[in-house]
């Protein structure tokens, strides 16, 4: 008997939880499904403040409903002149004191957490082998894409951040042009990407992104930065430390993998100095420093989840993007490909070649 009730309870609990979670948005991007320690802290603050605030709302609503039900004219009479009460010092004291107490309850974790989340003092602490004990990523916000430099590792990538799980990752943020804001909702709150100073904070990734339906966490620009602000997305792959180290090693290999197939080789030629010179803005090797090249690094292009940060990752979208970038991200700085091709549009065959080449750029086996 008891067992039955327990099971029923559990079932009810699970099903309400399920309904609740369905209303929480997608796990790749919702702050309500935290996947990192920072987001979890912030979620806990959300719950604490919501509980206190619900209490406030309930108290107000009870007095409010009683008042408008009890003292309506139809009930107390047309000619009734109420007593002209001046006020009550006792009541004033009560509704000054109680909110102060509630705010004090909120103030303590607020101050603690504010300092805790801004604590980057361990960033430069060196481990025994002389290397930094923590991963640091330099993030540069550009119109309308993101560059991620790993200074310790000497590698650069763009649009898709790759990070190890279950450890602190430090971020240095700066903008190369307009102010942006760096936000991965399910991992932690945002920090602005200012043009004049480096902002530093840390995040922790507690879940491997391969467990997610889409395989990546979604990152956003959260500060209006021009027409394509809404499209300035990036993606985050969180992998365990071992896999991360493998990825870094692959990125660090100076030798690019041989391009296979005639079509892709034609694409490589088009991409290079003797073709359209795409390579003068887009590096295809992961080795390098940040903020040097005008366009995103494409070393990992074949591994990516999206084209241009938000379009589905397929050759069709890639070709559309190359032939008409302004249509897909208005105001971005990629030149019209015709200006690189003596004023002529690329033929379908040339686009196929470029797409084949780019889709082949990969560091993951």
């Amino acid at each position: 008997m008891m067992k039955g009730i327990k099971k029923w309870r559990l079932f009810a609990l699970m099903s309400t939880l399920l309904v609740f979670l369905a209303g929480c948005g997608r796990e790749e991007i919702s702050t309500l499904i935290p996947a990192g320690r920072v987001a979890q802290d912030q979620f806990n603050l959300l719950i604490l403040s919501s509980v206190i605030m619900t209490f406030v709302i309930v108290v107000v609503l009870i007095i409010f409903i009683l008042a408008i039900v009890k003292f309506r004219r139809s009930k107390v009479g047309e000619d009734m002149i109420p007593e002209q009460v001046e006020g009550s010092a006792k009541l004033e004291f009560i509704w000054t004191a109680i909110p102060i107490v509630l705010l004090l309850i909120l103030a303590v974790p607020t101050v603690y957490s504010t300092f805790d989340l801004a604590d980057v003092s361990t960033m430069d602490v060196e481990a025994k082998d002389g290397n930094s004990s923590h991963l640091t990523v330099n993030v540069t916000g550009k119109l309308y894409w993101w560059e991620f430099e790993y200074p310790e590792q000497g590698i650069v990538t763009a649009q898709e951040l790759v990070v190890p799980t279950n450890e602190r990752v430090y971020f240095n943020l700066i903008s190369a042009d307009i102010k942006h804001s760096f936000w991965i909702p399910s991992i932690g709150g945002k920090l602005d990407v200012n043009p004049e100073n480096v902002n530093t904070f840390y995040l922790e990734f507690d879940q491997e992104s391969s467990e997610l339906e889409d395989g990546v966490f979604y990152g956003k620009c959260a500060e209006l930065c021009g027409p394509s602000h809404a499209l300035m997305d990036f993606k985050v792959k969180s992998v365990d430390r071992e896999e991360f180290d493998q990825w870094v090693t692959a990125m660090q290999s100076e030798e690019p993998a041989a391009v296979e197939g005639a079509l892709a080789q034609q694409g490589e030629e088009l991409f290079g100095q003797d073709g359209l010179s795409c390579i003068s803005c887009h590096a295809t090797s992961g080795v390098g420093q940040g903020n040097l090249m005008a366009g995103p690094n494409l070393a990992t292009f074949g591994d990516r989840n999206r084209v241009a940060g938000y379009l589905e990752h397929n050759e069709e979208n890639l070709k559309n993007w190359i032939s008409n970038p302004q249509e897909y991200k208005p105001g971005n700085l990629m030149p019209d490909v015709a200006t690189l091709n003596n004023g002529e549009k690329l033929s379908d065959q040339e686009l196929d070649a470029l797409a084949a080449y780019l889709m082949g750029l990969s560091v993951e086996e």
């Binding site: 709302i57 409010f64 009734m80 000054t96 801004a118 102010k179 027409p227 499209l231 208005p330």
Partner: protein, 626 residues
């Protein structure tokens, strides 16, 4: 010259309004132009919600969407909410303190025309190469990079209309300090007058930082200065500070008069004295004071460091205390009262839970670490619409119904008013409640489109459907206004029957000199006191009937503002190297300074209304109590 309500031709009426220095007519001008801009801003809001009704919509292009959101915010704050509140302040505050007009009637007119021309200038950007597109906050790095003249329309337009607002604020301060009727001590002033007083002080202190910021921006964009140009050693965060040092008090400039209107409504329609009047007054002052201490809570994510964030987080939380005091005092005002659910009272009653909801999300955002998640997401969009629509706009709609009879002498239909209320109120919650969750689900604000794969489709569609209800409510209000004007059923001094303050003791609309004899105030809610004492005249008088000195109307405020308006076009096109621009700039400034000179040199001593004329008016029942 002295008698009122003469039949006039259309042209003469227009001329009368262009030259008027009467606070009641200026109030009507503010209400009409503010109402017009409210509709413009509302159309912009509808465009936003149409664009976001589904994922990947292409109703508006990316650039146009940014223009629309910028103009929606700017219009609603500067050109709709503020002027409509200034309309009520102008219409009611001098009557509440028993004054014949504001302290500086000429300046009052100048303030209006500056606002008006500034607003027109800003909106002309739509037809002259594109509206501003850097958001109503106009953050510097984006604003400096913005092409075309949109941002210049923003900076110059707001500079002009900001002058107007500043002038209005100073005028109200002086009026309230100097022109209260005998016996109207500070602690007998009606709450709406008190909130006007505090809001005017905030205007006086908050607009200069905005003006400084706008000047920097104008110099950077038009004359190549580098206040905000990072590559030249400038700093864009200075703009954010200047903007929010203005911007946060601005929120209270809007909400305090709204509180004032609701305070009047609660007392009138509960037929009861305001509970804890003293506490309400001090809470108002405290809110105004704290309003200057919390601006950096708009900048928690800028990277000011944990110390600044913690201090501003705590300071922000404190504001919840005086606001809570107000809410509970209002609740206790209706408690034990005799509540009549007329249209203004329905708005006031609906305001309480709505505003509490907006207030508590404000406290949540004061928690700096939590704000890192909420900032610049749809959560903040929901929050500020809950306080600004749920507070200010509900107050504006309530005030429109409450003061319409006093301003125009006719009553808006109660029945249509209730329809407006239900459409607007339900539509409002449908539109904005769900946006809290969109924000928590990761949707950033100011996005012109969103992908279908992020789980935001349904909630956005619901939000857009709510906007249709709100628009329906506003359309019913317009119908109501037109029908009321056409019917033209005149009403008496105290149409709500339970008026408590001086404005309800005189005819609707009041004669142009307001009080034939200055009243003597015997306490808080002076008209109520006289009514309860059985005084049929509704007031006792501080002076015998005598001649009244009145100012003459003047076209000069209009011309000064027109001069600035013209000069702004010169400044704007000067940068394009247009040869005529300099001539326009100089011409406009000449017009402005010449008319100032005329004003300074020409003595205008005004005129007197004689006792005989007042007695003549009184026979027609047009003045108070004779």
């Amino acid at each position: 010259m002295s008698s009122i309500a003469q039949k006039k031709g259309f042209g003469a009426t227009i001329w009368d309004f262009m030259t008027t220095v009467d606070h009641k007519k200026i109030a009507i001008l503010y209400l009409m132009s503010g109402g017009f801009f409210f509709l413009v801003g509302g159309i912009e809001a509808m465009l936003i919600r149409i664009q976001l009704v589904k994922a990947g919509n292409d109703f508006l292009s990316a650039g146009t969407f940014n223009e629309v959101i910028t103009m929606h915010g700017t219009t609603m704050i500067f050109l709709a909410s503020m002027p409509i509140l200034l309309a009520f302040m102008n219409a009611v505050m001098p009557l509440q303190i028993g004054a014949r007009d504001v302290a500086f009637p000429f300046l009052n007119s100048l303030g209006f025309w500056l606002f008006f021309f500034g607003g027109i200038f800003l909106n002309l950007s739509w037809f002259m190469g594109g509206a501003p597109d850097a958001g109503w906050t106009n953050y510097a790095s984006l604003a400096l990079a913005s092409e075309g003249h949109g941002i210049d329309f923003y900076t110059l337009g707001l500079t002009i209309s900001g002058f107007g607002t500043l002038i209005a604020g100073i005028n109200f301060l002086v009026t309230i300090i100097n022109m209260r009727a005998p016996g109207m001590t500070y602690m007998r002033m009606p709450l709406f007058t008190w909130t006007t007083f505090v809001a005017s002080a905030l205007i006086l202190l908050a607009f200069p930082p905005l003006t400084v910021g706008l000047f920097f921006m104008v110099f950077d964009r038009l004359f190549g200065a580098s206040f905000f140009a990072v590559e030249m050693g400038g700093n864009t965060i200075i703009w954010e500070h200047l903007f929010w040092i203005f911007g946060h008090p601005e929120v209270y400039i809007l909400i305090l008069p709204a509180f004032g209107i609701f305070s009047e409504i609660f007392a009138i329609f509960s037929r009861k004295r305001l509970f804890g009047y003293t506490a309400l007054v001090f809470a108002t002052i405290l809110i105004g004071f704290y309003g200057f201490m919390v601006w950096a809570h708009h900048m928690f994510t800028v990277g000011l460091g944990p110390t600044a964030n913690a201090v501003f987080a705590l300071a922000t939380m404190i504001i919840a205390v005086p606001t809570g005091i107000k809410i509970f005092n209002w609740l206790l005002t209706i408690w034990g009262g005799n509540i009549s659910f007329s249209v203004p009272m329905i708005y006031a009653v609906a305001f309480i839970p709505t505003f509490v909801a907006g207030g508590v999300t404000g406290v949540m955002q004061a928690i700096a670490p939590l704000d890192y998640q909420l900032h610049d997401s749809y959560f903040i969009v929901a929050h500020f619409h809950y306080v600004i629509v749920g507070g200010v706009v509900l107050a504006i709609l309530a005030g429109t119904h409450l003061y319409w009879p006093k301003m125009f002498g006719t009553m808006l239909s109660e029945k249509l008013g209730k329809w407006t209320f239900w459409f607007f109120f339900l539509g409002f919650h449908l539109t904005f409640f769900i946006q809290h969750f969109l924000g928590l689900m990761g949707m950033p604000r100011r996005v012109y489109t969103f992908g279908a794969d992020q789980g935001w489709d349904l909630f956005n569609a619901i939000s857009s459907s709510g906007a249709i209800l709100m628009a329906t409510g506003v359309i019913i209000l317009l119908v109501n206004v037109v029908m009321t004007i056409v019917k033209n059923e005149r009403i008496g001094n105290d149409p709500w029957g339970d008026g408590r303050t001086l404005e309800w003791a005189i005819p609707s609309p009041p004669p142009f000199y307001n009080f034939a004899q200055t009243p003597l105030v015997r306490g808080l809610d002076t008209y109520w006191i006289e009514k309860m004492d059985g005084n049929k005249k509704g007031m006792i008088f501080a002076e015998p009937l005598g001649d009244i000195h009145m100012p003459n109307g003047s076209i000069i405020p209009f011309v000064i503002s027109l001069g600035m308006f013209i000069a702004s076009f010169g400044a704007l096109y000067f940068m394009d190297g247009k040869p005529w621009a300099l001539a326009v700039l100089i011409g406009g400034l000449t017009l402005m300074f010449a008319s100032m000179l005329v004003r300074s040199l020409k003595d205008d001593l005004g005129f007197h209304i004689t006792k005989a004329e007042l007695l003549e008016d009184a026979k027609g029942g047009n003045t108070d109590g004779h």
